[in-house]
Symmetry: C2
Subunit: 143 residues, 2 copies
Amino acid sequence: MLRNKTSAKRRSGCPLNASVEMLGDRWSLLIIRDMMLQGFRSYKEFMQCYEGIATNILADRLRKLTEYGIIASEPDPSDGRKLIYFLTAKGIDLAPVLTEMVLWAAAHEDTGNQALVRQMREDKEKLLVGIRQRWAARHSLAT
Amino acid sequence: MLRNKTSAKRRSGCPLNASVEMLGDRWSLLIIRDMMLQGFRSYKEFMQCYEGIATNILADRLRKLTEYGIIASEPDPSDGRKLIYFLTAKGIDLAPVLTEMVLWAAAHEDTGNQALVRQMREDKEKLLVGIRQRWAARHSLAT
DNA sequence: AATTATTACTTGCAATTCGCAAGTGAAATG
DNA sequence: CATTTCACTTGCGAATTGCAAGTAATAATT
């Protein structure tokens, strides 16, 4: 049925368990990254970007991330078909996690986007402040 | 067949793709955490610790983490049946990623292990140095 | 106003992956 | 030498995923 079943299993252990439960799959972190850095906001943008993600899985991940309070959505006022997805404060707080993951991969694998990596290495804090500021500017109205 | 199929798909994009490919599942990060913080080294220790992990999945994850160069193993000199698993330098470099994930979850969920969380918040750098030092001490011989 | 297109999904089904129980082989223990 | 321990593998039913084909609501076009 592809829905959550509130398995109380790894609850209340090390905090990492909670993170892995929410983020430990092939797509969630990529969705969050692209909302944070690419400004993705709609189902269609995600769908076009990731070759390979199944439509039902994208819908399921967006639903779960919403349940976890990492993202939220509202109807697009200028187009009633669209939903606009955005990161919540909890979601934007994942910026340091993503940063460390990017730096780790860049240090140990051949990867692209050297510009971003260089920026992260040179001034991690400044980048994080920038991400937060851009987010806050967009969400000065919504919660 | 439960083995890798070198899908060259998300290769060479953002470095995060590489991280998610290696770590984006329900168990890998937990295995790494427990090697890093709990000193786990054998199949049996992992098996006993995680209720819910299937034996074949544990074997598969250990194999993949080895292929990725995040962990390595060697026969136990004092018991020929055992393999000793240990983190490589690449593996120990995941410490900042784990730290940020723990801090994020602790900030946004009810989680346990407050002692660790407090230590991380109070002096992240010192903790990371400590983890590295303990690791280096154990691996002064092996690569 | 009626037709077509777009958007965000759901549904159905085959294929893959996972969880669990039961092996297996090699080495240690008694 | 029999038994136990350890690190797995195998088999199988169940859950999850990928893909193709809908669907319902709104928007754009004719």
